[in-house]
């Protein structure tokens, strides 16, 4: 790909925004993270996440099936830690229990689906969201739709390699990393950030 200045910013970006990976945005290596399309040290991205969560009017976590079901050892502990993080940040939680398109229509007040995530974001006036425990493919599908049609700031806490299509993305997110972000949120709150 050509060298590009493409930035992954809050939208609405347009009718059909491109996949950031096709615009030259690369996934971070271990110990790194992505902030708005640029690779930064992981700690810097964590601070940015804490800041975004605390300064948003209506931050919401979207936990996916990889977090909602205790399908392997350690998931329940991780889920509890995510709940603690959401509570510390004063964020709501709207689950994404599966990926089937909801017909005849979704109830956007209580659920979100990767195929029409904008409906939930519009309905609840969500200005910052956190994807966690969502299979990577579905997260990327949803993150592009959100960037295209809403002004929501997207954060992806990924257990694998991260997401170019989120405005902030951590990779290899495990229990200690979730707890670290929670600590940062609590510290920033003490310092007066709201």
């Amino acid at each position: 790909m050509s060298v590009t200045e493409y930035r992954v910013l809050a939208g609405p970006e347009g009718y059909l925004p491109p996949a950031a990976a096709s615009m030259g945005v690369a996934l971070p290596e271990e110990g790194e993270a992505l902030v708005e399309g640029k690779i930064v040290p992981e700690k810097e991205a964590m601070r940015k996440i804490a800041e975004k969560l605390l300064t948003a009017k209506n931050p919401v976590f979207f936990p996916g099936p990889l977090l909602l079901w205790a399908w392997k050892e350690g998931v329940a502990e991780k889920a509890k830690a995510v709940k603690d993080l959401a509570e510390a940040a004063g964020a709501k939680i709207i689950p994404m229990p599966d990926y089937r398109p909801k017909y005849p229509m979704i109830n956007p007040a209580i659920e979100i689906n990767p195929n029409h995530p904008n409906l939930t974001i519009w309905h609840n006036k969500i200005d910052a969201c956190v994807f966690i425990g969502v299979h990577c493919h579905y997260a990327n599908v949803a993150l592009k739709i959100i960037r295209g049609g809403t002004d929501c700031y997207t954060i992806a806490l990924c257990g694998e390699m991260g997401h170019e299509d989120a405005m902030i993305s951590l990779r290899d997110v495990d229990l200690p990393k979730i707890k670290k972000v929670t600590e940062m949120v609590k510290e920033m709150k003490k310092e007066g950030l709201k």
């Binding site: 790909m1 050509s2 059909l16 491109p18 996949a19 950031a20 990976a21 096709s22 690369a26 996934l27 099936p65 990889l66 909602l68 079901w69 399908w71 392997k72 599966d98 990926y99 089937r100 398109p101 017909y103 990767p114 195929n115 029409h116 409906l119 299979h135 990577c136 493919h137 579905y138 990327n140 599908v141 949803a142 592009k144 739709i145 295209g148 049609g149 694998e160 390699m161 170019e164």
Partner: protein, 380 residues
């Protein structure tokens, strides 16, 4: 069956001692699959692919594979392969020519479902009229299916690319199918020296729980869910989802570039890149070009070679940079449509210097003299 131990891909590819063996391309497929820790293979015969999957069947009989069967036809095979992959196993198959076209609908379906299937395509003519002879025209059809495409020049390439294809295809951030293409008969039915690793080592098993989509394991949550289509509704949301989905498949191929560099040493290989005349080729057209360049050198003519190993993702940036200062770019091909020439022109700034040919097809061989004639003409 020999007891095998699991080793890292890096050890198997780059560090393990290798033994030289004299074998056909079909036998090189067998040797690759023997070391690939494949769970399942499904076959349907078509010349010139039949021998390779027959040999894979022998591996099953020896105990190297957990399952193997012959499908009803190519469409059935490619559909069954999809089912196996959705169920979370490492799966392999092969076809060629009319078989490729008969199964065609399956390939974009594989990519769309993020299935890390590896399929070898032993290319041949596609029955216009009936031919079983070498021709790469089917690759023109495959370019926009969403699958990754490697093109093997030799039996050595075929062995290495098949093994590496599994590792690249199964990366979480990639996780799309890989087609390893090779020119039927020229590679499959000729013998060459191939360096292979010891047969008591194999790749690590596939871990479907690192997939970017849920594995359809009906016994385990959170994966007791189908990948439901959204095509049943006619509304903007459905269209936007499908568009975003397709973009994500292309993004997956983009992410694969780093892995192709790591495991294949790059999307292209270059010889004498500063030459005024460059030949850009893939598959066995590379071997013929190399011969022609040697002949040209003996005449005092200078030409360089760009061997394209990976066609999807396409090495656009590499081609653009490498050809920038060349005065002529010759693209020899084993098909009548010149799909590689079109690809190259699509990424170059000055397309006027691209010579689309020589081209042979229908089973014809490509004497190096044909390419040499173009080098001579461009040198005047």
């Amino acid at each position: 069956m020999i007891d095998q131990r699991v080793v890292t891909p890096e050890y198997l590819f780059f560090e393990a001692p290798r033994e030289k063996r004299f074998m056909t391309g079909s036998e090189a497929v067998r040797e690759a699959i023997k070391r690939a820790n494949v769970d399942m293979a499904i076959s349907y015969p078509i010349t010139p692919q039949s021998e390779s999957m027959h040999l894979v069947g022998d591996l099953y009989a020896e105990g190297y594979l957990r399952e193997y069967f012959r499908g009803e036809n190519e469409f059935a095979v490619m559909s069954a392969v999809a089912g196996a992959s959705m169920g979370g196993v490492r799966v392999f198959t092969a076809t060629g020519g009319p078989g490729t076209l008969r199964a065609f609908e399956a390939f974009p379906t594989w990519a769309g479902a993020r299935l890390p299937i590896v399929c070898a395509f032993m290319t041949r003519g596609v029955n216009s009229p009936l031919s079983i002879q070498p021709d790469t025209i089917e690759m023109a059809f495959m370019l926009n299916t969403g699958i990754m495409m490697f093109h093997a020049e030799t039996a050595q390439d075929l062995y290495d690319m098949i093994l590496k294809a599994f590792v690249i295809a199964e990366k979480t951030d990639v996780h799309i199918p890989v087609g390893v293409f090779t020119d039927g008969f020229f590679v499959t039915h000729t013998r060459d020296t191939v360096e292979i690793a010891a047969e008591d080592i194999k790749l690590p098993p596939y871990n479907p729980y690192c997939a970017p989509v849920p594995v359809m394991d009906m016994e385990n949550v959170p994966v007791r869910q189908m990948r439901d289509p959204f095509v049943m509704k006619s509304n903007f949301i459905s269209y936007a989802t499908h568009a975003s989905w397709q973009q994500e498949i292309m993004a997956a191929a983009e992410r694969a570039r780093n892995y192709v560099v790591k495991y294949l040493g790059g999307l292209v290989e270059v010889e004498n890149e500063d030459a005024d005349i460059l030949i850009v080729a893939s598959g066995t057209a590379v071997s013929q070009s190399r011969e022609a360049i040697g002949m040209a050198r003996r005449e005092g003519l200078d030409a360089g070679l760009i061997k394209i190993k990976c066609l999807r993702p396409f090495p656009g940036e590499e081609i653009r940079k490498l050809t920038r200062n060349a005065t002529a770019v010759i693209v020899p091909e084993f098909n009548r449509v010149g799909w590689l020439c079109q690809e190259i022109k699509s990424v170059m700034e000055d397309t006027g210097k691209v010579i689309g040919g020589p081209r042979v097809f229908g089973g014809m061989t490509m004497p190096p003299d044909l390419i040499l004639a173009e080098i001579r003409r461009c040198s005047r």
